[in-house]
Amino acid sequence: MTPPRIPPLVQFLFVFIVFFAAALLERSSPVKAASQPDAPASSALLTWAHDIAPILYNNCTTCHHPGGAGPFSLLTYSDAKRWAPQVAKVTASRYMPPWLPEPGHGDFADTRRLSDTDIAILHRWLATGMAEGKLAEAPKPPTYDATWQLGKPDLVLKAPQPYTLSAGGTDVFRNFVLPYPRTESHYIRAMEIRPGAPQVVHHANVLIDRTASYRRQHSADWQQGIPGMEILLDAGNTFDPDSHFLFWKPDTPALIEPEDMPWRLDPGNDLILNIHLKPSGKPETIDVQIGLYFTEKPPTKQPMLLQLDRDDALDIQPGDKNFVVDDSLTLPIDVEALGVYPHAHYLGKDMQVWAILPNGQKKWLVWIRDWDIDRQSVYRYREPVQLPKGTVLHMRYVYDNSESNPRNPHTPPVRVRAGNRSEDEMAHLWLQVLPLHNDPDQPDPRLQLEEAWMRSRLRKTPDDPISLYNLGAALTGEGKYKEAVEIYKKENNARPNDPRTLTALGAALDGAGDWQAARKAFEEALAAAAATHAQLCDAGFDLASIDLRRQQFNDAEKEFRNQLSACPEDAESHAGLAATLGSEGDIDAAQSELRAAINLNPNNPQTHSALAQVLSSTGNLAEAITEQKAALKLQEDDADGWSNLGVLEARTGQIESARHDFEHALKIQPDHAQAKANLTHLPAAP
């Protein structure tokens, strides 16, 4: 059976994909300022070697070294002496090291907050003459490699053109597209960013554009980078939600993922680098390189980035010093939270995020008292935060749109609403969560999170088309077809004749068992005036697939051929036509369609497997084995595939290989009846 395809829809808010696309099935496979610190009790003379160097090396020099992201070096005694007045001042005010979360409100890894004692030592060293001390007492200075921190990357992506940041003016927010050039997928265990001019890059977010949609949206000028803070991406035809914080700031050059949670890049993907640049006084060349480090191991854990947001409520009157928004979301499943990323622009002031557990306990997730967009960060928890089903997540953000907020972009203040420019505002919170229970026989548990999230959005904006669409897609993915049909009908009533919605409605109707209505919806999608090429291809594929499944081979063949004359690049339609032709007995034609499909997309295990079956039926066992192995390379956990390979190998006399294949199938699926039976048919081991 070839499952229907729902066209994609994604909205991208600020930097993370909020909405996923088609749900049904994968087509191809079933600071607060400190008061003046007290001087330390010891009256011994403080020296650089004994007292200051250890503090600077532990807290400052990752950025403040020659060539580093900090504007000056703090590696040597003379450096420390040169900058001692500034160091004392900015540590006392807790401007440096950059660290916004309030202590005691979330336990974070890599906390950069300096202790009060260290701050006092820095202050007293300045006040007492900045003695050098005995050099032998100084710790060995850390070394910073100007090249890649993790060694040579497996792949380096570059922006197509360098970008010149002008010498002065306001901060720049720009999006660079870095196409992934490989023809095979890879799992990424680590990433490094080398921005070219580290001192002007404040932070960067890397986004995965699964369908190169952003590049298409800006086909004329994407090479130069596109200005803006908010971008819209199209996630493609599978439920593949954003799952990782690919957040970079100058003191974290290498972004290493947990061993069981690599992320993935597929052929045709782009990385989008959303970057915040601060002019330095001279023109700077931003020539970004992203180094990627591969791993062979696929992820065994699938996190998801959940979002709370109140952009809809942002309407801040000029002069309002205390504008509050809040949002909440009830978790439908047990999860653990791995990291948190609060975000607002220049008016944001106080940001509180907490969870109320089902037993009533309040758990702080993060509290920032004096938000500063320049020092924003993702904060990762030292230990995962357990959030059982029924937990309510809360965010409460306060904005200051008065003249007394120095960061206010407008003088005098003006009315401010949500938007893409830095002078607009945002009220976002991302939380990286990991579902605790993952049953491979059940739909992806993240679909339940998606459903809860979309329902929460719809409570705030009941008519939001993207939330409606994505709720429908989540419900379809969960197998709740009837509910999905209702949602899509609502969306179709509100905005009739949208080809994307009609195709999604068709898929949901088909899932609910009403193939007639599904066919009608697909036909309406095909007739919709506004349909894009991709939307026509999706609807046409789904229509033909229904007739193939109903064994109306004549209709299906005609529809697939129509489809291929309009969408010749559609590998899955070639595969669908192959299935139709094969069912009609035209094995040679089926074989040639499968080869065409593989040519267009060599990464679909089902097509290789289907070709193996066709080849086997024509007696070409050697090539059939090659194709079946290609399929299993792409999908190692396919018990049927191993059993089929065993049959092919047994037929060519490779008994021990066949035995191994059947045993492998049983290892994956111990009750695999066919593999069991096949094993008993093999001659006993010599």
Binding site: P85, G168, P279, G281, R407
Partner: protein
């Protein structure tokens, strides 16, 4: 010819600046201020100058660097109105060679002074970089009418506005040009402390 003289600076400046008085036109013989090529500079106001601005800066101070385009803008704006701008580098490590490289890196085309003896610092009472001092030219005399921040973009190291709302230096220059009194800034300058001359970097290589 208007001259800002060592005599004026060292003998009368303190009193006169405090009282807003005029400097007399005296010979410049004792002032150890050079350009990056090492030539002694004794003449700060060219013939047509009505205002002289000393812009104290440090090659390694990030805030000082970020103001370079703003100073270039002001220089452009007042170019035809008789306003002479000088960059002044007072820090011990900002030697002629370091400053020359800085000027190349940041495309600085104004005239530049090396003041490692910090005579101009003491004269003008500046304390950080970047910080400006403005002199009104009257005949042969120079009178300091303003010293302080360039504008109010930075409130502290941790707080800056996206754009300035008060352009103190610009307003001071305009006031002199239009014969109005100069308003002192509301707040002190934000920047990197000027490194005392006695604190020269023990590990840096001496530069010519």
């Amino acid at each position: 010819m208007s001259l800002l003289t060592r005599n004026a600076i060292l003998t009368t400046a303190t009193v006169l600046i405090a009282s807003g008085g005029w400097l007399s036109n005296s010979p410049m013989s004792g002032l150890h201020v050079t350009d990056p090529e090492g030539h002694n500079i004794s003449q700060f106001a060219p013939g047509n100058a009505r205002v002289v601005v000393l812009m104290f800066a440090a090659t390694d101070c990030p805030i000082s660097r970020r103001y370079i385009p703003e100073i270039a803008r002001l220089q452009q704006e007042f170019f035809s109105q008789g306003v002479a701008f000088w960059w002044v580098f007072p820090n011990p490590d900002d030697t002629a060679a370091v400053v020359r490289k800085h000027e190349l890196d940041f495309s600085i085309h104004s005239q530049t002074l090396i003041d490692t003896r910090q005579e101009l610092v003491r004269l003008t009472h500046v304390s950080v970089t970047p910080e400006a001092a403005v002199f009104a030219v009257n005949g042969a005399g120079l009178r300091e009418v303003y010293h302080g921040r360039i504008d109010d973009r930075y409130l502290s190291f941790n707080q800056s506005r996206p754009a300035a709302t008060h352009h103190d230096l610009e307003e001071a220059i305009k006031a002199v040009l239009t014969g109005h009194p100069v308003t002192p800034p509301d707040e002190g300058p934000v920047g990197c402390s000027i490194v005392p001359a006695t604190l020269s970097n023990p590990h840096s290589n001496p530069q010519p």
